[in-house]
């Protein structure tokens, strides 16, 4: 797993927006904008005050470095930068609660001296006082504010700043803290303060003020005889805003010094490596400010929402898992790491067990991430290790593994055509196509045979379900059997219908040559039977079609040759995501599967043409008008959508019926008499059949339980309802039935299942009991 964890070093999620990087206070712009945008003005004010300390002064004087770095300033995206200062001014006006927060923490009893009650000194003093350090300010004059008085005296006053405004602001922000300010107190030497027990001294005496020799040293801060000395603010040539930011940064450095004894330069990085996803970069221009340079109250939400919130969130935009869980990749990595950590499971949490099992393996993550972080492969590796460690909840994949066993067992059919010993080609439809729509397989195979007389049939599973379940051993076994079958067919080139099967074969069976069914059809000049009407359709490319440009092109050519008007899907066209089938996520989290389906089908109002049967089934099941490209080709599909999709039971029956039909029609063979799966006369009404389907319960499993109850007498009478209830463990699942008996036939009243095992005692109430359930 280590190699997967390492890739997160390049994650730029924590890189700040361009404006924030250029801001002397590093205001958390995304947070501020989000609060302003939803009308939480007091909360937005708090975010702003936490960054700048004196909002009224900063909003008046800020020279707006953010504006020169804003992407919206570019002509293509609006031509005018976000009015961040205008928003700040508006928020100050609109916020109802501006009282500073009082932190009820114990006093620290550490003394700090600040020389100068200008904006830098006061900013530093306030920060330290709010953390309960004993701060004292020494001011040579008789008033607070330093050079702010000169600014306010100018005509017109810069940003409308008047002495009333800044004095009122000092009073408001400092009112919760007791900060002794010694006016008319000129400090003549720093040693004198050091002797009085101050552990840190900040010299903020303003432009041309006394630097006490601090500026003669290499850096304007150092430690001498266990006292830390700092010089900053206008004394070091900074403007008002930078001077305040300096005071705030020095407060942080003083705190670190007092806690650790180390002196570090205040963190003031003004650059960022953030990248903005191109899909966010649409044109949007701003609205004019009022005369006071404020965003008008009615425009606050619009201006805030115009902000692009420049942060790297490509994963959140495209990856379903990140969007659904709202967990950033760095957190996902931490949770996976905690889960995979060796050690007794009783002693440590495994927070990502379900998370690991809801990746659809669409592979979009590494494609859209600027750092190419591959969550998909990390999750797949984690599944393998969970399986090896015997920590994988079996239920997450059990249904699909049993389905695969069925596809590779009873439903399998691997044959060369009659009279052909070696096939040059063989049709590989994949295991779900015949389960969902047997006619697609039968019609396609007949057509393929007409084009290529040696075309064999390879009706099996490709092995992807065991790969998704993390079972490496079984996957290797499936791949090896696949290879043997392929050799027996005469090593044909496979004509593959399913894009996911194509991926699995290419990756694990590189010596097998493959071509997609639809490229083969196009090359062999198939003429689609269905004719598109004037309605506009969109091609929905399945996730596994990524990188298969020839396949995607063939599908479009086939649809266009059938007169379908095609319109590309806004996202899916270039970023093909999963329909929810991938990774078999629907058992581990059914709500997440619905979330994915909804995201896909709401991307466009247009009906979809797809070429993955699982996509077709997922969308049609959710009510989206969707057809398969094979409907277009053979023309026997219903354009308005199917009335109902086959249930899990019917999907098995379809496969068997298909095999029987093919054996009879192509080879003239009768299928060996099959033991009936349902041995009793059982009636199930359609509503209950739908429930069984939703809960992944096969009708033959239900029949098996009833037959068991009847045979063994292990059942309970529900007297008032006139029904019987009983259960049986089939495989690892336990199925419950409630049924009525009418002579020799049975009527199912209800059925449900659970994963927990009922452990029966060998001896119950002093009697031997049959525990074979």
């Amino acid at each position: 797993m280590e190699r997967f964890y390492k890739q997160f070093k390049n994650c730029i999620q924590k890189e700040v927006p361009f404006c924030q990087a250029s801001c002397p206070f590093h205001l958390e712009v995304v947070d501020f904008i989000e609060k302003a945008g939803r009308g939480a003005f007091s909360a937005a004010y708090k975010t702003y005050r936490n960054a700048v300390t004196f909002p009224a002064i900063v909003a008046a004087l800020c020279p707006e470095p953010c504006k020169t770095h804003c992407i919206r300033a570019e002509e293509a995206y609006g031509g005018n930068a976000i009015e961040l200062r205008g928003l700040e001014r508006a928020i100050i006006e609109q916020a109802k609660n501006k009282d500073p927060i009082y932190y009820n923490v114990p006093r620290k009893n550490r003394k700090i001296a600040i020389i100068g009650a200008g904006i830098s000194g006061l900013g530093c003093a306030f920060r330290l006082a709010s953390k309960k350090y004993d701060v004292e300010v020494f001011e040579a004059s008789g008033r607070m504010g330093g050079h702010l008085w000169e600014i306010a005296d100018r005509s017109p006053a810069v940003g409308g700043l008047t002495p009333e405004i800044f004095l009122e602001e000092f009073e408001l922000q400092l009112k919760q803290e007791q900060i002794p300010i010694h006016f008319h107190t000129k400090i003549s030497s720093l040693e004198e303060l050091a002797e009085r027990g101050y552990e840190a001294i900040y010299v903020a005496t303003g432009a041309g003020g006394n630097d006490f020799g601090l500026l003669d040293s290499d850096a304007p801060y150092f430690i001498k005889d266990n006292v830390a000395y700092f010089a900053g603010g206008s004394l070091t040539g900074k403007d008002t805003i930078e001077a305040l930011a300096d005071g705030i940064n020095i407060a942080a450095a003083i705190e670190i010094y007092l806690k650790t004894g180390n002196l570090s330069a205040p963190d003031d990085r003004r650059t960022t490596n953030v990248q903005v996803d191109p899909c966010k970069l649409e044109y949007r221009t701003g609205l004019p400010l009022d005369e006071a340079g404020k965003v008008k109250p009615e425009n606050i939400a619009e201006e805030a929402n115009r902000c692009l919130r420049c942060q790297c969130d490509s994963c959140k935009i495209y990856c379903d898992l990140v969007a659904y869980t709202q967990k950033w990749p760095l957190r996902i990595k931490d949770e996976v790491q905690a889960t995979m950590h060796e050690g007794k499971v009783e002693l440590k949490p495994q927070p990502a067990k379900r998370l690991i099992n809801i990746c659809t393996h669409c592979g979009l993550c590494k494609e859209v991430c600027p750092a190419q972080i591959d969550l998909d492969s990390m999750f797949l590796q984690a599944r393998k290790e969970l399986h090896k460690l015997n920590r994988m909840p079996w239920a997450f994949h059990d249904f699909w593994l049993r389905d695969m066993d069925f596809a590779d067992g009873e439903a399998a059919l691997v044959k060369t055509p009659p009279g052909v010993k070696k096939s040059k080609f063989a049709f590989f439809p994949g295991c779900q196509l015949g389960a969902s729509e047997p006619r697609y397989v039968a019609d396609t195979y007949s057509w393929l045979l007409s084009k290529e007389p040696t075309m064999g049939l390879f009706l099996k599973c490709c092995g992807t379900p065991v790969k998704w379940a993390g079972d490496e051993e079984k996957h290797a076994e499936a791949i090896s059997k696949f290879h043997t079958d392929w050799e027996e067919l005469g090593k044909p080139k496979l004509v593959v219908a399913c894009p996911s099967c194509m991926d699995n074969i290419s990756e694990f069976l590189p010596d097998i040559e493959i071509i997609s069914l639809y490229e083969f059809m196009e090359k062999n000049g198939i003429v689609p039977a269905m004719k598109g009407d004037r309605e506009t359709w969109s091609i929905f490319d399945p996730c596994a079609s990524a990188g298969k440009d020839d396949l995607r092109k063939s599908i479009r050519n086939l649809a266009e040759s059938a007169n379908f008007q095609l319109e590309p899907l806004p996202v899916q066209e270039n970023h093909s995501a999963c329909c929810s089938y991938g990774g078999h996520v629907s058992v581990a989290n059914p709500k997440y599967a619905d979330f994915i389906i909804d995201r896909r089908i709401t991307e466009s109002e247009n009906p979809y043409i797809t070429y993955c049967i699982n996509c077709r089934d997922a969308f049609l099941g959710a009510g989206k008008k969707t057809i398969h490209i094979l409907d277009v080709i053979f023309g026997d599909g219903c354009v308005d959508g199917h009335a109902s999709l086959p249930t899990v039971t019917e999907r098995r029956e379809n496969r068997i019926a298909l095999k029987e039909q093919l054996l009879k029609n192509i080879w003239g063979e009768e299928m060996a008499k099959r033991e009936p799966q349902i041995k009793i006369d059982l009636k199930i009404d359609p509503e209950l059949k739908a429930k069984l389907n939703r809960e992944w319960i096969l009708e033959e499993e239900v029949a098996d339980v009833i037959e068991f109850c009847e045979r063994t007498g292990r059942k309970v009478i529900l007297e008032e309802r006139g029904t019987f209830s009983g259960y049986r463990q089939v495989g690892r699942m336990t199925y419950w039935v409630e049924y009525r008996k009418n002579g020799e036939s049975f009527e199912l009243v209800n059925a449900y299942s659970h994963r927990m095992k009922i452990e029966l005692e060998a001896v119950w109430d002093g009697k031997k009991v049959d525990t074979d359930m």
């Binding site: 499971v345 949490p349 495994q350 927070p351 067990k353 379900r354 909840p393 079996w394 239920a395 997450f396 007498g713 292990r714 059942k715 309970v716 009478i717 529900l718 007297e719 008032e720 309802r721 019987f724 209830s725 259960y727 419950w736 209800n750 449900y752 299942s753 659970h754 994963r755 927990m756 095992k757 009922i758 452990e759 029966l760 005692e761 119950w764 109430d765 009697k767 009991v769």
Partner: protein, 63 residues
């Protein structure tokens, strides 16, 4: 709330009563009182109870 049902074991023809049953899932084991036949130990779990069991199953899967 559904009316109380009379539950009779078909084999032993006696009413079910509350008794402990041992459940296991993913290396977790616990006992819980459910309706059982006092004679042969046959168990009955209603769909409502199974719905609650599913929440416990999910907890074990996440642990």
């Amino acid at each position: 709330m559904e009316k109380k049902l009379t539950l009779i074991c078909d084999k032993c023809k006696v009413n079910l009563t509350l008794a402990n049953v041992h459940f296991s899932y993913l290396d977790h084991n616990f006992r819980h009182k459910v309706l059982r036949c006092p004679e042969c130990g046959q168990v009955y779990l209603s769909e409502e109870l199974v719905a609650k069991m599913k929440e416990v199953e999910a907890t074990f899967e996440d642990k």
